[in-house]
Symmetry: C2
Subunit: 531 residues, 2 copies
C-alpha cells in the first residue's frame, strides 16, 4: 500500500523520505479501514525532523513573545472555525460522540488551552521572573533552545493531540520547536490540525520548521529518537510499557521526559456519603466510568466502598446500571484486546464479575461496561495485580471495612494521577477523611472531594500529574497554564549582567504589567520603585 | 581497624550494624591519617536508615512549619556557636584556610542558608500556593513524604555538607527526612555537625529519625540504595562518573535525582575588556582559579582569550602568576591523582603547558597551579577531550580569534553550571556579546558578566544548576532559597476540597502574610477579598 498522505517536515508538506510502510485509520464502529494511506516513517524522516527542528531552535527562542502568542491565537481561531470538519474527522476515526464530547467539550477546551498559553506568553507568567537587587542576580524560566518531541495518545484527538494539545501548546509557549508524533488511531484529524497549525505558523511569521508532524514509526525508532541528546525534552501520554521504554533511553541521554503513564484513580466512598445518597453516587460513578467508553487516564478504575447497607445499595445500583448498558465502541482492536486481557488478569487475581466482562456481540471494537468486585483482604493480598490499569469502561469495587482496613487499602496504591474521597455534607465522615486522605495525598497529584476524577480543568491550580509511575516526575503537571509550560523550560540566572543585555522581563523597567518577585515580593512595579 | 565512631541511625548514635570496615580522615598537608576510625557501612546500616526515615516521613510531613523552622534556626545558631571547633576540624581534614574561607565565608554562608530556608518555611514561600476560585482548584508544593538521600561532596565541608548544606536544608524545609551520606574526606567535621543537628532536632521536637548520617559505604551499595523506590529523591554533588552510576539506578526506580556533576565554566574575555584591563583580569582569574586549590564546581576551567596585544598581556601576566604560585594542598590522594591524570589527558589532547603541570615536591597532596593553552582550531578539533574537567587549580586558555571562531567555541561546550563574559565598560564589546552570549546562554544555568564564576550567592535568583551533563535537570537549582527547596517537593492539587480540610496556606484565610497566586494575581490577601 503506497502512502498517499504527506508529512509536515522541515516546514513543508512532503512525501516520506523513507517510508517503512503505510497504514490507514479504522472506523471503530465497523472495524473497517477508512481514509487515505499514511506513511510509517523510517529513520530518515526522524533525522530530517530533528535536524530541521534543531536548526530553527535559536531563532524561535529569540522570537518576540507577542509573535508566539499571535501564532497560538491564530491557531485557536482556525480550530474553532474548522469545527465541523475536525469534529467529523475525529468522530469517524475515534467513534467518540460528536456531541457533546467532541464539539462542545474537547474542541473548545483545546482552543481555550491554546489561548491560555498565549496569555501566559503575553504576560510572561510562565517565566516567573525573580530579581534580587542585593546580589545583582536575576532569574527566569527560558526556552530550552532545543526541540521538544511530543507523543500524543489515542484518547483525546484534540486536547492531547501531539500537534494541538497541552504538550504542544506548552512547548511552543516556551518557544521550543515541536516534533509531533501523532497517534496512528486518528491520522486524518491530526493532519487537518497540522494544516491549520502550519498556516497559522506562516501567518504569524514563525520559523517554518517550528512545528513538524510524523504519523507513525516503529517503536525501536522511537526509542532511538528519545535517546538523542539533541532533544530538549519529551512529552508523552500513553501506555506504561511504551512510556517506560522511551524513558530509559531519554534518561541515559539526559533528556527530561514528562511521561503520563497509567493510573487507576482510586475513589473512596465514605460511609456518611453513602448513607446520604448511595443511588445517586452509583449513577455518578457509572457515568464517569463509561463516558467515552472509559478511555480516560482519569477513569475511576477502583472504587473502595464502605461496608454496610448503603454500600450494598451502591453496589446493587451500580451493578444494575453496568449490566443494562450498551457496549460502546473503543478506539481500536488494540484497546479492545488489551482490555479483554486486563479484565482476565483481574479475574485471575481474584476479582469477581458483577456485570459485563466480555466483548459482547456488537459490530466493531466494543467491550461491555464491566463491573468487578473483590473483598479487602484479597485486594491487599494481590495489590499489584489488582491495581493494574484496565483502559476502558471497567472498574473494580473493593469492599471497604473498618478505618484500619480503609487506611491499609489507601497505603496499597502506587503513584496515581488522582484520588477521590466522597464525604458526607454533614461532616460525619471527616474523622475518617483525616485517616484515609494522608496516605492517598502522598500518592497522587490531585486529591478530589465529592467529584469524579474525569474532567480535567485547564486551570493554573490543576495538577494532571503525580508520583511515579503515574508520571516520571512528581513536580510537574501536564495540564494547566502557565504551569504546564514549566516542563519545557530551563532555569536561567543572570549575574551582574547590564540592564540592556537582559531579557525584557528581567530589566529594571517592567515590560508589561508583568508580575515579578523583586526582593522577595511579587509586584508589577519597575525595579527601584518602592513597593 | 575497629570503627570507634558511631553512626546517627534511627534517631540515636549507635555502632554500625554491619561495618564492612573502617577508615580514618587524613591531614592532606602531610598525607597522614588523623582522628578516630569511622565505620564503612554495610547493607544493614543502609536498610536501617531507609526504614527509620520512611517510618517518620508521614509524621514529619504533618509537622507544623513553625517547628521545622525552629529546628533550622536552632541548628544555625548551634553551628555559629560552635564555630571554633568546626573550623578547626574542617581545616585539619580539608586543609582549606581557616581564615577567611572556613570561618568568615563558608560557615556564615551555611548558617545563613539554614536561616533562609527557615524563613521560606515560615512564610510558605517555597510552597507557591495557587488558588483558582472559578474551578475550585487549589495547588501548592508539598512534602514528598519519603526520605531524601543526600550525597555530600569533598569540597565544601560546611555549605554543601550532606548534613548541613543546601540539599539538607532544602529537603528538611520541604519536611522530608534526610539520610545524609557524609563525604569520607571530612568525617569528624560531619560528625560534629550531625551532633548539633541531632540536638537541635530534639530541642525542636521533630521526629528523631528525621535526620540520619552514614559516613561511607561501598559504591555498589550506594547504587542499590539510589534505586530503592522508597526514596523520594536524591541530592548529589560530586564526580560525573559516580553521579551517573547513581542516576541510572534512580531513573529506573522513578526516583528524581538532582545531580550536580562536572562543569568547566567557560570564561570569555572579549577584546574591549582585555584592552581596558588585561593585567587586572589576569589577577582576578588567577585568584579565582587557585582559591581553595581550585576545588570548586564553579572553577574557571577554560578561558577563551580574544587575540591581540591585550590578550597576549593577559596570557603573559597569568602565566607569571601561575608559575610563581606555591602548590597548596588538595583534599586527598584521589583528588591529586585524578588531577594529574586529567592534566595528562589535556596535554595528550593537544594542550601545551604554560606553567605548573606536576605535583611538585611539597609534602602531602599537592599540585602545582597549572596553566595550559591551546589554539582555537585544536580546541574545536578535540572539543570533547579538551573540555574534560580537571578538578583543582588548573585552567586551559583557548586563543579566541574572530567572531565566527568565538561563536564556534561557544557552541562546542556541553552543559555547564556557568559561563562568563568579560565586556568593556564602554559597550564596545556588546556586538560581540550579542553573538557569543546566546550559544552560551542555552548551555548554562548562570550567565555572568565581569565576575569570576566562583562565589555562589545564596539568592532567590541564583541558579546553581544547568543543562545535562552539568546537572540532571535544567529546571532546578541546588543553591538559593526558596527555589532549591522545589527539588524535594511534589505538586499537590486539591479539587473541591472543603476549606477546613485544606492545608493552612490554601485556605480562604491567609495564615501568614503568605504570598499566593489567587485567580492569576499574587497577593497576600484572603480569598474573596477584592484585590
Amino acid at each position: 500500500m503506497p502512502a498517499d498522505a504527506k508529512l509536515l517536515l522541515g516546514g513543508r508538506w512532503c512525501a516520506s523520505l523513507d517510508a517503512a510502510g503505510a497504514f490507514r485509520a479504522e472506523d471503530p464502529t465497523r472495524a473497517e479501514p477508512i481514509g487515505p494511506a499514511f506513511p510509517i516513517s523510517g529513520a530518515a524522516d526522524l533525522e530530517a525532523a530533528l535536524a530541521a527542528a534543531s536548526s530553527v531552535a535559536v531563532e524561535l527562542a529569540a522570537t518576540p513573545p507577542a509573535r508566539i502568542a499571535d501564532f497560538l491565537e491564530r491557531y485557536a481561531t482556525a480550530i474553532e472555525e474548522e469545527t465541523d470538519t475536525l469534529v467529523a474527522l475525529a468522530a469517524e476515526e475515534t467513534a467518540l460522540p460528536a456531541e457533546p464530547r467532541l464539539r462542545s467539550v474537547e474542541l473548545p477546551r483545546t482552543s481555550g488551552q491554546l489561548r491560555q498559553a498565549a496569555r501566559a506568553v503575553r504576560d510572561y507568567a510562565w517565566t516567573e521572573p525573580v530579581i534580587d537587587t542585593a546580589t545583582g542576580l536575576r532569574a527566569h524560566r527560558a526556552p530550552l533552545v532545543k526541540p521538544v518531541l511530543v507523543f500524543g495518545p489515542n484518547n483525546f484527538p484534540f486536547a492531547f493531540n501531539a500537534i494541538a494539545g497541552s504538550d504542544f501548546a506548552s512547548a511552543i509557549a516556551a518557544r521550543n520547536p515541536v516534533i509531533a508524533k501523532a497517534h496512528p488511531s486518528h491520522p486524518a484529524t491530526s493532519r487537518r490540525l497540522a494544516e491549520l497549525a502550519h498556516k497559522a505558523l506562516h501567518d504569524a511569521g514563525l520559523p517554518a520548521a517550528s512545528v513538524q508532524m510524523l504519523y507513525h514509526f516503529d517503536n525501536a525508532l522511537g526509542v532511538a529518537l528519545a535517546g538523542d541528546a539533541r532533544l530538549g525534552a519529551i512529552g508523552f501520554t500513553g501506555s506504561r510499557a511504551g512510556g517506560l521504554a522511551l524513558k530509559v533511553a531519554a534518561d541515559v541521554a539526559g533528556v527530561p521526559m514528562y511521561a503520563e503513564l497509567s493510573s487507576v484513580n482510586p475513589v473512596f466512598l465514605l460511609p456518611g456519603a453513602l448513607a446520604e445518597r448511595a443511588e445517586s453516587l452509583a449513577q455518578e460513578f457509572f457515568a464517569s466510568c463509561t463516558m467515552g467508553s472509559g478511555q480516560f487516564c482519569t477513569n475511576p478504575g477502583i472504587v473502595v466502598v464502605a461496608q454496610g447497607e448503603a454500600g450494598d445499595t451502591f453496589v446493587a445500583t451500580a451493578t444494575k446500571q453496568f449490566a443494562s448498558a450498551t457496549p460502546r465502541p473503543l478506539f481500536s482492536r488494540g484497546v479492545q484486546e488489551n482490555l479483554a486481557r486486563a479484565v482476565r488478569d483481574l479475574v485471575d487475581a481474584g476479582a469477581g464479575v458483577l456485570a459485563g466482562g466480555s466483548k459482547g456481540d456488537g459490530q466493531g471494537y466494543r467491550f461491555e461496561p464491566t463491573l468487578l468486585h473483590v473483598d479487602a483482604a484479597t485486594f491487599l493480598a494481590h495489590r499489584e495485580a489488582l491495581q493494574a490499569e484496565a483502559f476502558g469502561p471497567v472498574s473494580l469495587l473493593v469492599s471497604g471495612g473498618d478505618e484500619t482496613t480503609m487506611v491499609a487499602i489507601a497505603e496499597a496504591f502506587e503513584g496515581n494521577l488522582t484520588a477521590t474521597l466522597y464525604r458526607a455534607a454533614d461532616g460525619s465522615d471527616d474523622a475518617l477523611w483525616q485517616a484515609v486522605a494522608p496516605p492517598l495525598r502522598k500518592r497522587v497529584g490531585r486529591l478530589i472531594a465529592n467529584r469524579m476524577p474525569t474532567g480535567v480543568a485547564v486551570s493554573p491550580a490543576m495538577n494532571h500529574g503525580g508520583p511515579y509511575p503515574a508520571t516520571g516526575h512528581p513536580g510537574f503537571t501536564a495540564v494547566g497554564m502557565p504551569t504546564a509550560i514549566h516542563r519545557f523550560a530551563a532555569l536561567h540566572s543572570y549575574d551582574n549582567v547590564p540592564d540592556a543585555l537582559l531579557p525584557p522581563e528581567l530589566r529594571d523597567r517592567n515590560p508589561g504589567p508583568v508580575q515579578r518577585r523583586i526582593d522577595g515580593r511579587w509586584t508589577d512595579a519597575d525595579v527601584g520603585v518602592s513597593r
